[in-house]
């Protein structure tokens, strides 16, 4: 692990403040300083950290020390509760349209994992929900993006709708849905090209696709290794498209994944799935609570607290 866990960092601070009746303001200040560092090292956005620390301080100061917990553990308990509350509950459900096909649109920055996740979601829908998805190749910009999606379609033995790179992405999406209706595919998953949130033309293109096909879900795909910029990205995509959920990819790496907190804080949209590998079965429901522990790097302390 690249960083030491919060638990280790808090050891010395905690020792100093055992055996007191109340958690004092000074205790909390010292402990939250460590919490702040841990969150920043985990890539939680500094503004989000600031708000969190403020709330934690307000809640922790003046608490009666419980017999079963040291003051340090007690502060951690508050931290964990705040983080978990911010992360929200588990929500891995995917919409079902009243009239098929249900349309899912994948959006996000370059290289985040949209195309791969398109394949994974299709696999998930067939395996766990008995659905028959059609994949739509709307990335006409990235070299061989269509080949990539078609290869995934072959691996899955699933149909891919494409019109080459000269067609307009809005038309491709529209026609894909017509084909899905004709062929009785109950889901259409639209793969779009990666784009920067500050690229107005390409962001407009997404809005046009949205207007044309009225998707039931718009998933923002975000790389779990994203740093402080995650708030800008999530905020811009959400502002323009009113996304319905987030997929956090590459969680099979060793990143703490603080971006998860930042995204949740600025969009208040659920993180629905986690990408956990390059293969098409590498998709899992997102567990907010586990994510909170991962960000803090402190599974051991938490299990202690849970028992108390």
């Amino acid at each position: 692990m690249a960083f030491e866990g919060l638990a280790d960092r808090l050891q010395s601070t905690m020792k100093k403040i055992t055996g007191k009746g109340k958690v004092s303001e000074q205790d909390v200040k010292e402990m939250t300083r460590e919490v702040r560092l841990a969150l920043l090292e985990a890539d939680v956005n500094f503004k989000v950290v600031k708000d969190l620390i403020k709330r934690i301080r307000e809640r922790a100061v003046g608490q009666e020390v419980m017999e079963s917990l040291t003051p340090g553990q007690q502060v951690i308990k508050v931290v964990k509760e705040e983080l978990t509350a911010l992360m929200g509950g588990e929500q891995s459900k995917i919409a079902v349209a009243d009239r098929p096909p249900t349309v899912i649109m994948m959006v996000g920055l370059q290289g985040a994992g949209k195309t791969t996740t398109t394949g994974k979601l299709a696999n998930h829908l067939r395996k766990n929900h008995n659905r028959t998805p059609l994949l739509a190749a709307c990335d006409i910009y990235r070299p061989a993006a269509i080949d990539q999606l078609e290869t995934l379609g072959q691996q899955l033995s699933m149909p891919v709708f494409s019109k080459g790179t000269d067609a307009n992405p809005v038309d491709i999406a529209t026609e894909a849905i017509e084909q899905a209706k004709a062929e009785h595919n109950d889901y259409v998953i639209i793969d779009t090209a990666g784009r920067l949130h500050v690229d107005n033309d390409l962001m407009d293109e997404l809005e046009q696709i949205k207007t044309a096909v009225k998707p039931d879900e718009i998933f923002l795909v975000v790389d779990a290794m994203t740093g402080q910029d995650a708030v800008n990205v999530a905020d811009s995509f959400n502002e323009q498209l009113d996304i319905s959920g987030v997929v956090l990819t590459k969680l099979d790496g060793d990143t703490r994944g603080g971006a998860a907190l930042s995204i949740k804080a600025v969009t208040d949209k659920p993180i629905k799935f986690a990408g956990t590998g390059e293969k098409l079965d590498g998709l899992e429901a997102f567990h907010p609570e586990r994510m909170a522990s991962r960000i803090l790097g402190m599974g051991d302390v938490l299990s202690l607290i849970e028992k108390a």
Partner: protein, 304 residues
């Protein structure tokens, strides 16, 4: 020299806003640096050093602190080293081999396309080897870039052994009398031990075939990445002895500040910056301009 001056100039503006060097000043400086992903410990150390320096020199007026800030920032990047280590190591009269590595989706294949174009423009005979035999469409993607840049791509079918493809690439490059061979590899997360071993094997094949190679091992880092980039730099270096970084996606709003800490801790310099998806969007890296860029937002605020 010019960029350095303009950097100091911008620091001036920042300073002008705070007449006194107080806690607020340092707090804002800290936030600016952290939001640029410079890294918590690097920032804390820097701020501590600054505070000490300010005390030592008995600086009260913010105008006087500016020198210290720019000194320290550039110092973080360069350390005690010479300032012009960033040249790409291309040897004349022999085949130079560049191995490109990095995590998934960082921009390896795209950067290879851009670099091939750049070297081709400089009159070099360039060949690419499609060492990513794993990801769907990876070979086709490199093929398109080869076409765009007007260079040959050596490839085998999807699923074949990457080391074999690279071996093949070296043979072909030699027989074509190529100046430069650039090897693409599949993206991999640095905690996947098997995949890192596979990469080390690719490097060994290169070393065996051309004793002076690889001339460069370029680690491609996505500027959007946060603190994990340090772990990437460490682990990829252990496996392949990285000689330089390509920092991609700097055309977005992310600042990629972690490269300061990487340069400082691991002595790996950034050699190129990626500024878009087109062939021409690769620039030589300028540390002074980069450091200045870290402050751009704050300075814009100042200007308002």
């Amino acid at each position: 020299e010019k960029t350095r001056n303009s950097f100091s100039g911008k620091i001036n503006d920042l300073i002008a806003r705070y007449r006194k060097v107080d806690e607020d000043f340092f707090e804002e400086l800290e936030e600016v640096l952290i939001s640029a992903d410079v890294g918590v410990s690097t920032v804390m150390d820097l701020i501590d050093e600054l505070k000490m320096e300010v005390k030592r020199r008995n600086i009260k007026d913010s105008a006087e602190v500016k020198e210290v800030i720019s000194e320290k920032l550039v110092e973080i990047y360069y350390g005690d080293d010479d300032e012009d280590l960033e040249e790409l190591n291309i040897q004349n009269g022999e085949l130079s081999i560049i191995l490109v590595v990095g995590v998934n989706g960082a921009g390896k294949t795209t950067s290879i396309g851009k670099l091939a174009y750049k070297l081709k423009q400089e009159g070099k005979n360039v060949v690419l080897a499609a060492g990513d035999t794993f990801r769907a469409g990876a070979i086709e993607q490199l093929d398109v870039w080869g076409e765009r840049a007007g260079v040959d791509v050596i490839k085998q079918s999807e699923g074949s052994d990457p080391a074999a493809v690279i071996f093949d690439g070296i043979k072909s490059a030699k027989s074509r009398n190529a100046d430069v061979l650039i090897c693409d590899t599949a993206g991999r997360l640095q905690n996947k031990v098997n995949l890192m071993n596979e990469l080390a094997k690719v490097k060994r094949v290169i070393e065996r075939e051309v004793p002076s190679a690889p001339h460069e091992v370029l680690l491609v880092l996505d500027a959007t990445t946060g603190q994990n980039a340090m772990s990437q730099a460490k682990t990829f270096s252990e496996a392949t002895d990285v000689s330089g970084i390509v920092l991609t996606k700097l055309d977005g709003t992310a600042k990629g500040g972690i490269v300061l800490a990487i340069r400082n801790e691991l002595q790996i310099p950034v050699k190129f910056a990626g500024l878009g998806e087109k062939m021409e969007d690769l620039r030589e890296f300028n540390a002074h301009a980069f450091v200045y860029g870290l402050f751009a937002d704050l300075l814009e605020e100042t200007a308002e």
